[in-house]
């Protein structure tokens, strides 16, 4: 039986040499958690099952390149590496793979041009393509949408792109099904309602997407504790839980999260 995975996500600002990991904006102040390859190495040693790098560089100037960040990381980290943020062509994907990435995630570019999913899958295999879906609950305009019943009423989910700044009108549940057909190997599913709230994963969303596709779903958005991971694994078929800030400042170690899960009967990979 496959283990449920715990995946730390590193939002990387490449505007400085070596890059830096952005912890998120709190009280209008951006906080930095460290240098990407160093943090990735720490998480690897702590038992991360996979590492995700997302390029969120705001400035036009990229002092570090993702290529260098991946290359340096792959000297120290011996679990799969996933890279996303700004992958908009087969050529971008090729560069990431040739630096040592095992998978790429695509969101905006795939929504704009769905065939990109097929192209990457045909060249590198389905396992190398992760489609990121950023979904937000909508309680209006239900006509023609795939809807679910939630505690707060019937809703559908709308895909956003450009880092959550723009909405597409695309039905996230229909899109999930489509990306599977196009050859996506996994879905990285982020709840825009929960992202940054620390209220836990959107269980209803995660459950709905996990039921609608056969490919693995990575739950993301809102995780603040091992209890949240336990909840998403107990109540849904999510194959992985992704979290960022809870690891960055040592609130919880990955090891502690996994022990917590194992004690409650969740199949996880424990390291010595």
């Amino acid at each position: 039986m496959l283990a449920r995975r715990i995946i730390p996500c590193l939002d990387c600002d490449l505007g400085v040499p070596d890059g830096r990991v952005v912890k998120g904006i709190e009280f209008r102040q951006i906080r930095y958690a460290g240098v990407p390859w160093e943090l990735a190495t720490r998480y690897y040693e702590d038992g991360a099952d996979e590492i995700v790098f997302l390029d969120i560089t705001a400035s036009h100037e990229r002092r570090a390149t993702m290529f260098d960040v991946i290359k340096k990381t792959s000297e120290h980290v011996f679990v799969p590496l996933t890279v996303g943020g700004g992958i908009s062509s087969l050529e971008d994907a090729r560069k990431a793979f040739s630096a040592g990435a095992d998978k790429v995630t695509v969101n905006t570019a795939a929504l704009s041009r769905p065939d990109l999913i097929r192209e990457i899958a045909e060249s590198y295999g389905s396992q190398a393509v992760v489609v990121a879906i950023d979904a937000k609950r909508r309680y209006q305009d239900l006509e023609g949408r795939i809807t679910i019943n939630t505690e707060s009423g019937r809703c559908w989910f709308e895909c956003s792109y450009y880092g959550g700044r723009r909405f597409t009108g695309v039905d996230a549940l229909a899109w999930a099904r489509r990306v599977e057909d196009l050859g996506a190997g996994e879905i990285l599913l982020t709840s825009m309602d929960r992202d940054g709230t620390y209220d836990g994963f959107d269980i209803e969303l995660t459950d709905a997407v996990s039921r609608i596709v056969r490919i693995p779903v990575i739950a993301s958005g809102g995780c603040a504790s091992p209890e949240h991971m336990y909840e998403v694994f107990r109540k849904t078929d999510a194959s992985a839980a992704l979290a960022a800030s809870i690891f960055h400042f040592n609130q919880w170690s990955i090891r502690d999260c996994k022990r917590y899960l194992q004690e409650r009967g969740i199949n996880v990979r424990l390291t010595d």
């Binding site: 679990v79 630096a99 590198y124 056969r214």
Partner: protein, 199 residues
């Protein structure tokens, strides 16, 4: 020196870096010439058929070294091509060093298998020194090996069916999982390989 066979189908940084970390002295070899190699790695990239097309020119020098006792380790597709044939590429001939065939994972499980699964050890093997049943390794594959002589299967994993995870026949070894992506346990296995190569 441990030669990594580069048949031009993808990046080999991961296995190169992992062998370095495991104390080995890897060298990426584009030419089919393994005279200085104390051990050889056949990495796994692409489909069975395309892989064999690119690997064919390495066959003779590889078989010479195998006959001389050099340890050879195939990873993922690199293990599958050691068998006779695969459902993935009908008509394509594998190396046939281990007799058997490669078939698709069964209906009813998500294909590819992608993620961490646990091993069940079937027999003692130096390559698996320090590794126990229950230890997890990273798998990514849609097809799996069925050797006709089940005694070559040194470890299995369960995914819809019993899957051969490690095969060993004399100095020929194969792993269906990726040791270079399997964390400390994967590195331990590569350390064992490095040690076996030095003996």
């Amino acid at each position: 020196m441990i030669a990594i066979v580069d048949y031009g189908m993808g990046n080999l940084f991961s296995i190169y870096n992992a062998l370095l970390k495991a104390g080995g002295d890897p060298e990426i070899k584009r030419d089919p010439e393994f005279r200085n190699a104390a051990g050889i790695i056949i990495p796994g990239v692409g489909s069975f058929g395309r892989c064999m097309e690119s690997l064919r020119r390495f066959q003779e020098p590889l078989e010479e070294r195998i006959a001389e006792g050099t340890p050879v380790l195939g990873i993922c597709i690199g293990m599958q091509v050691m068998l006779d044939e695969s459902e993935e590429s009908p008509g394509a001939r594998g190396f046939g060093w281990i007799s058997g065939r490669v078939v698709r994972l069964p209906e009813g499980v998500t294909v590819p298998q992608m993620g961490w699964n646990s091993l069940e050890l079937k027999r003692d093997l130096e390559l698996l020194d320090g590794i126990s049943s229950g230890d997890m390794f990273y798998f990514v594959h849609s097809y799996h090996c069925i050797p006709y002589d089940q005694r070559v299967v040194a470890a299995t994993t369960h995914y819809g069916v019993e899957v051969a995870a490690v095969v060993a026949k004399d100095n020929i070894y194969g792993t269906q999982f990726h040791p270079e992506k399997s964390g400390p346990k994967g590195l331990r296995m590569l350390e064992n390989f490095v040690r076996m190569v030095r003996c």
